[in-house]
Symmetry: D2
Subunit: 452 residues, 4 copies
Amino acid sequence: MVSSKFNGISNLSNPSIKDILSTLAERGRSLLDLDRYSGDPEKNLRLLCDDLLSMAGEASGVAMAQQVIVVYQSLGDEQKGKFFQWMQSEYGPDEDRLNAAIAAYEDNASDQTLNNINRESEPRRHELLRRLNLAPGGTAALVSMRADLLKHLKSHPQLSIVDNDFQHLFSSWFNRGFLVIKRIDWHTSAAVLEKITQYEAVHAIRDWRDLRGRIEPSDRRCYAFFHPALEDEPLIFVEIALTRETTRAIAPVLSESRDYIDARDATTAVFYSISNCQPGLKGISFGSFLIKQVLENLKGDLPDLKNFVTLSPVPGFMKWLNALPDQELGIDTQEKCEMFRSGLSNPDWCQDAEKVEDMEQIIRPLAARYFLYEKKKGKPLDPVARFHLGNGASLERINWLADMSENALKQSAGIMVNYRYIPKDIEKNHELYVTRDEVVAANRVGRVLKKR
Amino acid sequence: MVSSKFNGISNLSNPSIKDILSTLAERGRSLLDLDRYSGDPEKNLRLLCDDLLSMAGEASGVAMAQQVIVVYQSLGDEQKGKFFQWMQSEYGPDEDRLNAAIAAYEDNASDQTLNNINRESEPRRHELLRRLNLAPGGTAALVSMRADLLKHLKSHPQLSIVDNDFQHLFSSWFNRGFLVIKRIDWHTSAAVLEKITQYEAVHAIRDWRDLRGRIEPSDRRCYAFFHPALEDEPLIFVEIALTRETTRAIAPVLSESRDYIDARDATTAVFYSISNCQPGLKGISFGSFLIKQVLENLKGDLPDLKNFVTLSPVPGFMKWLNALPDQELGIDTQEKCEMFRSGLSNPDWCQDAEKVEDMEQIIRPLAARYFLYEKKKGKPLDPVARFHLGNGASLERINWLADMSENALKQSAGIMVNYRYIPKDIEKNHELYVTRDEVVAANRVGRVLKKR
Amino acid sequence: MVSSKFNGISNLSNPSIKDILSTLAERGRSLLDLDRYSGDPEKNLRLLCDDLLSMAGEASGVAMAQQVIVVYQSLGDEQKGKFFQWMQSEYGPDEDRLNAAIAAYEDNASDQTLNNINRESEPRRHELLRRLNLAPGGTAALVSMRADLLKHLKSHPQLSIVDNDFQHLFSSWFNRGFLVIKRIDWHTSAAVLEKITQYEAVHAIRDWRDLRGRIEPSDRRCYAFFHPALEDEPLIFVEIALTRETTRAIAPVLSESRDYIDARDATTAVFYSISNCQPGLKGISFGSFLIKQVLENLKGDLPDLKNFVTLSPVPGFMKWLNALPDQELGIDTQEKCEMFRSGLSNPDWCQDAEKVEDMEQIIRPLAARYFLYEKKKGKPLDPVARFHLGNGASLERINWLADMSENALKQSAGIMVNYRYIPKDIEKNHELYVTRDEVVAANRVGRVLKKR
Amino acid sequence: MVSSKFNGISNLSNPSIKDILSTLAERGRSLLDLDRYSGDPEKNLRLLCDDLLSMAGEASGVAMAQQVIVVYQSLGDEQKGKFFQWMQSEYGPDEDRLNAAIAAYEDNASDQTLNNINRESEPRRHELLRRLNLAPGGTAALVSMRADLLKHLKSHPQLSIVDNDFQHLFSSWFNRGFLVIKRIDWHTSAAVLEKITQYEAVHAIRDWRDLRGRIEPSDRRCYAFFHPALEDEPLIFVEIALTRETTRAIAPVLSESRDYIDARDATTAVFYSISNCQPGLKGISFGSFLIKQVLENLKGDLPDLKNFVTLSPVPGFMKWLNALPDQELGIDTQEKCEMFRSGLSNPDWCQDAEKVEDMEQIIRPLAARYFLYEKKKGKPLDPVARFHLGNGASLERINWLADMSENALKQSAGIMVNYRYIPKDIEKNHELYVTRDEVVAANRVGRVLKKR
């Protein structure tokens, strides 16, 4: 999800977590260079983890946790992989103790014996991860460690049990109650802005000038969630254009030569980009909370705002379309089907007014069908649709020729979608979506559908 | 642990958590007054908790968590007690699912089946508490909820299983990695200073003038831990006098007419008071981390500081002494034993120089014995001793006539103790204490002991 | 203007300016102990001032300015007086140069020759004061120096020329453009709150509990102006009660047992106290700007506020009344006149309902006359009236038995006044007041007047 | 002094002062659109200024000052020029009153009559400028107004009298005592960093990557002075490299591929760039104070720093050299002289090792002569030399081939100079420089000089 195309500073890698770690390393070395840990790094690491876990008191926990992190960071990719495997095989629950707890429970089911099963079945990794967090910068180090782990997951599926532990812990630590929302603007520090630039995953930020155009003008907003233990590290952010109407295409939003309006004259907030920042926090969901919080903040600041819509990509459309049998395209001859498919594969079609019109005739109804009827386990195929509809938004409009970037043509034949958030309907829509698999959509969306 | 003797503002109750809650209440009412929750508060609360737990998505989590807290806060003591009992009986693990998980594990022990046992044995209270934290101010509300729970624990010991869940969660959330140390001084906000005054548990702060004398002068320091989600709420704090020698009595430290010195001329930091602030965080230990962090900060700021000692109370001494058989007092006649005991029960003895001397002859050796040889499970009887020695401090000196307040005479016959923290020895002392039950003490401590 | 009756911390003198100076002193000593300045302090001071003024570059300005301040602060009262006299006699303009400039101007009046007169007629004190401000803490030191000067002014009227220079400088430095408004509440630092307590000049703050009651509740506000160079030192502050009606007496405002309302339900902001804080800034006016800024802030925060009134003392009324010839009291016999006057001198009259009524009959018309017709150079006699009417307020109401404190009875027979600020009328009222000497008053004010 | 070569955002003009003004404009319009000011802008402006100056009270000062600024900003260049001329001709002192004051003084010279001359000779512009500062953002507007004025000065030298008034006021307002030093680093806001990039006048900052390399690494520092009334607007800043030896050329300092060191290992601070930011503050000197303050800060942070040197350009060298008669070049034949001069005019010489050596033979002694003996009114010809030597630095070393940028070759034949600041010698050097016109220089500097 992390874009790396930023010209200005592209070669400089993300500093802050690394910086934290190198500072740690430095301090760590002076703290704990005991003879005990003079072996090779892998052995040391295991020894350190064992010691950290077996520590009776807290006396040396901070220093030891720091040292584990330092040594871990010094490892190469392969060594890290081995370390995760060792965590998997060695730091599960103690089965003897668990079996004893099960026996006691089967003998006498009580709060206490139940509780013992829970305690004894907890993998020792949980406690290890909690103790690693004693180190200064520990939270950042653990997030970075999980990002490493995720890379090994594909080739070593058994590590998913370790990932499970990280995820369990992070769900608790990155609870909404601990997140802080901050507005990102031209007064934000360069350190944070750099992250925003790197992490924008939807419409890449070309340079600082482009960035400035998105956060400084009165009719633009950007908000991010932060966690107090991860200073300067946004977790997720959303970019918003304040306009006088629902925007149907992305180019005018990002144009440098666009007209500016005074925020107080805006009626509509267009959420045109939302990006996760931390690969290590994959699966911990912030987006829904962020959108709702931003809605609240915007309503408070600008009471004249009436409409809250997104301008969203449709990442799954072309994949679905390409897999669709020709006879379902709504095209009468096989020849035309082939022309359509080959035409679509050449992005130049959108430069030719005639082709554009032909395409629209065919694609519009298919897009409506894609959103309204194509489901998997009852939910829409499209991941972005699932996200917004699951949050309680409704499907407002499918926009033709809305994003003509190469990537968008390839993903979605250039269509984009407005989802609408109506504060008073959010709960109801969400309920319908969750319990009855209903997609709430404006009438116009289905109107293009041929009778089925 | 919370003193309430502060003159200036004693009638005003602690505002901040209450304030948060009343604001919540107000906002909550407008959010979720659905017909569904129109029953009596107790029923509503259970219904709300059920709904909160069964929520598929996150759409209404924040509002619902808020509502649970609001309704909970509106309950009376007895109703709260019933609510906790209901949590105990209804929100444990689902035993059917657990039994199935156990069966599957016994059939085939694997990471996955192990993990399922852990998941299915987790009481549903865990998830409930995590979801309650979605509400703004949720963390404060949960800490306050546990303080309520602790009050019911004595009369309802079965609630300890619920307390267990709170404690498990708080151990993770109030991990050292999330705590922030702040210096408390005359630039600190009145809101925080008021808490410091209320929570001082060792040497009560009489008024703002007394408070100022402890935090403003150059030769005084005060540090506290804060958690980012509990603004204005110190978790624990320590008060320090910077001096040119190890202080042997408390009165000169607190005297308003004492001489001031420049902090840069100090050689010794005397930790003379450490107080926990949050009853709802009982059992979550911060003290050891705080002392070590403060040591680091002081060494960084004032490189000339060489000695780090405490001036600590001895809360268990008189209790032990009162239970000691007469023949172990080291007094030759029964009559004298009685005189000694009756003399001790009248605090006036310390006004009479002759009596003082007699007392000292008898008590000093007993105090040395109390610290050096009286143990329970291998550790010292005295809780303050266990705390500091367990942190890696050594026993430096037992001070005669060190605190002549009524309370101190009753608890400890007026003795106080200096524990010494020597940065380079902390690990070693801690190790000796934990693994070999050794108390590291200065020679002089044992010298007064009669041969045994 | 500075009250010193605060119980809690009354013996501790105002620290911050002194602290700044003592820190300065310490650093200063190490900087500039040249042999040149080894004489007695008075001589040194003059020598240092001469050197500071004759400095060609800026190289040693900071250190030298610091040293001047340090030595100045070490002087006793009498020596300070002599120093001011020396400033007066020695640091005026250079008359030879001025005479030459005048001659050149008379020879040829031009921008340049005019400018030279201005430059050569500037007392060298101006430059001296500007250079003293180079020192860290210099602004605070100069404000404190002027406070000293004002004490010598009465016995040495010739020093008014020196005071003139301070005032000229401070008018420029404490320009509205440099002032920062801050809300004072329970999150404000103890250091600032202590100042607020000390400086409250209208209704003394008894203790921290009283203070808290004025700044923490939702229906109370307090705002102060600060200058960036005087950290922690409010310049002026105003206390406000948010109510549902215009308050006619002070006791209910300050009562500890009053009912609280939600700020958002308030319709009226009552400015019940405004106090200057810095004796050294006497004559530099901030009040008018503060009131207007606070009006703006309140309107922004609480759009439902409609009325902005003061509840103000009448410091000049009794003085005027005591000087009024008997025949103008509106009392028919000489005997009754005497009874009235002697009754008034005994504050007990306000405990006796009958006397209260008699008094009201007599005093109300006199109070109306005092405000509406008694003038000096066309402006009202009462200084508080001059302040608010000059700011563009109107006279709303004279309140009988509004403040029964001893002081108020003595100053104003217990009456207080509401002045009203109507934002859209402020300019017009101000204009009428300034250009036509008109006092804008509500009809009811004059109604009690007997026909004249 | 303001570079405009920044790629990233070059087309966007400096926002903050403009932004302030446009916000002002907006608010201003709603405040004061009285019929009185309905004429053309120039007339309005004069009327407004007259009204602002004649205002008796402060009631409408803020709004009126705001309006003056708004109208002023709406004027074109030519109109602004006329406005300044009008200020010059109309807002001088009142000559009748001045003449009366002079007559009174000549009749009776006293503190009072002297003071009256000073008051009456003060141009009314002073008071106008002070009152303009009442407006929010007034200080920024006045600084911007003076920048406009400076542009008209050349063609209208009579405006220097107006400039004089600005300068007098700014000297007082931007006194060292009001300036705040801040470290600029990667946590600084983009708004400030953008200014740093725009204002770097010595070694242009190419892009954000270049900027980052100068402020983020541990071995780089940047400090700026700010004024509290000009938020986000640095006044002057200095860039520093921390190294292990005195750097003799600029390229290695700015290289992206240089080696980094840990700041704590550095022995030497190289001040390699110092830039003024505000054209409107021309002539108000901050540089000397900044360098000394930074010296203090660095010594405090990094006690191992021993050497404080600059790496400075020599902007006047080639101009002097070009004007030097051939016979003084130290070259034996006319032909060689011509070769030398023509060689020098082609920047390629420095690519040819042989030429470089020849050049060095000739230029080194001339450079030494330029610094040691070429004076104007007793002070060095070179403006950068005057600045640093006047601050108390000494001339440490002239570096051959130190800056091979086109501009540097043209200005200084590529030489750069190290000036050294030795804290304990600063006063003495400054004294020698000011009073005896002595340039303190290391011996090696003069060694290359042929005997004279």
